[in-house]
């Protein structure tokens, strides 16, 4: 496999009962790349992200992150489902930012960030706190370290959530519509943080309806519909001169 490919998904299929949420979806993301996934509601974008970090189990297909098969261990001609402990270990390397932030409400901004490093990675508290303070500074919230999530605006909560994901020093961060739950005037402060993160070389897969962000920041854009990848390619090409009529239609609808 190419040395530079960080995420490789091949023919990922996921069924909910008889409903096929993902239908042979393939995706490649190079290290340091920002890959945006766009598509109408119910097209399977969230499901794909959730398969990558094992919040859902796929029914067939395979995903590699950093050349490591996700969810399975290969042993000759057999694939073994890995243990819960192994799943947790694989997830440590994959950050996730949710639409609804999902900060821990009983912990302050700083405590939210150090929770993973201290409890999961076993980092000394002092070191974790220093690093968390630096991360809060980086997302522009140095003065909110001791605030509880309920005392922060949506945009501030989402920035803390991004800092929490970064605190685990992941290889990759998944974003599931990180600005969809925000008031319009708060969207840009979150996108700015993500742009900064992209510039620092973080590999990111971003499900979003912010086509401006996709155009300016993403390297590749993938358009999904009804569980299938309709079109994928360089961001400039897919967004400006889409090959598929459906992609063009969707882009036009989102813009207006």
């Amino acid at each position: 496999m190419n040395q530079d490919i960080l995420v490789k998904a091949i023919d990922v299929t996921k069924n909910y009962g008889t409903f096929r949420a993902l239908d042979k979806v393939s995706l490649e993301v190079a290290r340091g790349e920002v890959s945006c996934i766009i598509g109408p509601s119910g097209s399977g974008k969230s499901t794909l992200l959730r398969c990558i970090n094992l919040l859902e189990r796929m029914d067939s297909g395979a995903i590699w992150v950093k050349d490591e098969l996700i969810g399975y261990r290969r042993d000759g001609n057999n694939l073994h489902e890995i243990s819960d402990a192994e799943i947790s270990r694989q997830r440590q390397r994959i950050g996730m930012v949710f639409q609804r932030f999902n900060l821990f409400p009983h912990k302050t901004a700083l405590e939210n960030i150090i929770e993973g490093p201290v409890q999961v990675l076993g980092e000394p508290v002092k070191e974790a706190r220093d690093r968390a303070s630096a991360l809060l500074e980086r997302v522009g919230l140095a003065d909110k370290a001791n605030h509880y999530p309920s005392e922060l605006s949506g945009g501030q909560q989402q920035r803390v959530a991004i800092a929490r994901a970064m605190g685990m020093r992941p290889d990759l961060i998944l974003f599931d519509e990180p600005t969809s739950a925000l008031d319009p005037e708060l969207v840009s402060e979150v996108l700015d943080v993500m742009r900064d993160l992209a510039a620092s070389g973080m590999t990111m897969i971003v499900v979003t309806h912010e086509l401006g962000f996709a155009r300016n920041v993403a390297n590749t854009v993938t358009f999904m519909e009804t569980g299938k990848v309709v079109e994928t390619g360089l961001a400039s090409e897919v967004l400006s001169t889409p090959k598929s009529a459906r992609t063009a239609e969707f882009i036009k609808a989102v813009r207006s």
Partner: protein
């Protein structure tokens, strides 16, 4: 009407009301109710004072060594049985929602059996366990005669604690269910394993929902320990009974016991308030009311 014309209104206009006198609303119903309650209360006090109660006995036995020892045993039993109930409740609730069919079947079976029989009956079953299992232990390694192990204390702790666990597990389960699924997912995405996620993220949030009903159950348990008197455990009611069998001052000693129960329950209620406040940290509704 625009602002300019408002400003030029004469002072006696119908919109000028700042100088009028405010007459508060009369709560006639409340006053009548309060009067009735006071009358009834006065009647009650009179009944107690002219009734067949020797208040000097109440005063003398309030701090009698047997009563205080009984109080101590009541508190000890409350702590032990409720402790066992909470531990079992948490374990059973986690088993029930674990998604492991074996564990959740065991949990459902446990709740079914131990909620199905009166606590008093369970207590007596444990106390008489020797009739089914004359000895306990692992044959060859160690063995006890059941009657030696199954003291009134042990039987009461098991009987009360295990049946309490069935109820508490449902309280814990409702607490676990009250935590948003996004919290479970956020904990998983930072690489937490099941137990750490429950301990660090889910249970502390579930506590907010669990504390009021568990507080209720602790208070219930204080009084439920009186059941242990039937298997000769020396809790406060048992000791009060022993005294009034001897001196026939039934009502006086029951009042003594009531006093201590009421005192303990009051202290627990105050404690619950502070525990609720602690687990409500970070939550808006609690903060704004502090």
């Amino acid at each position: 009407m625009n602002v300019a014309s408002l400003a030029t209104q004469p002072a006696d206009s119908k919109y000028e009301i700042a100088h009028l006198k405010l007459v508060p609303k009369r709560h006639i119903g409340r006053m009548i109710a309060a009067g009735v309650v006071l009358l009834l209360f006065a009647g009650l006090v009179r009944a107690f004072s002219v009734g067949q109660i020797e208040w000097s006995y109440v005063r003398d036995f309030l701090f009698a060594p047997a009563i205080l020892a009984g109080l101590y045993n009541t508190l000890l039993m409350t702590v032990a049985a409720m402790g066992l109930g909470i531990v079992l409740g948490v374990v059973i609730a986690i088993m029930r929602i674990s998604g492991n069919p074996v564990l959740s079947s065991i949990a459902i079976g446990y709740i079914w059996v131990f909620r199905g029989a009166p606590a008093l009956l369970q207590l007596m079953l444990w106390f008489n366990l020797a009739l089914i299992f004359p000895t306990l232990g692992i044959p060859g390694l160690f063995e006890f005669r059941t009657v030696d192990v199954m003291t009134p204390f042990v039987a009461a702790v098991l009987g009360l604690g295990i049946s309490q666990g069935a109820y508490t597990s449902e309280v814990v389960r409702s607490g676990l269910l009250s935590v948003d699924s996004g919290q479970y997912e956020a904990a998983r995405t930072i690489g937490m394993k099941q137990m750490m996620m429950l301990r660090r993220i889910v249970l502390p949030q579930a506590m907010r929902v669990m504390v009021p009903p568990v507080g209720n159950e602790v208070i219930g348990m204080v009084k439920l320990t009186s059941l242990a008197s039937v298997i000769q455990y020396s809790e406060i009611l048992h000791n009060a009974q022993i005294i009034y069998f001897a001196n026939t001052r039934v009502l006086e000693l029951l009042l003594v016991a009531s006093f201590w129960y009421l005192l303990v329950v009051s202290v627990l209620s105050i404690g619950q308030h502070y525990i609720e406040r602690y687990f409500g940290r970070g939550s808006k509704s609690i903060r704004s009311s502090m």
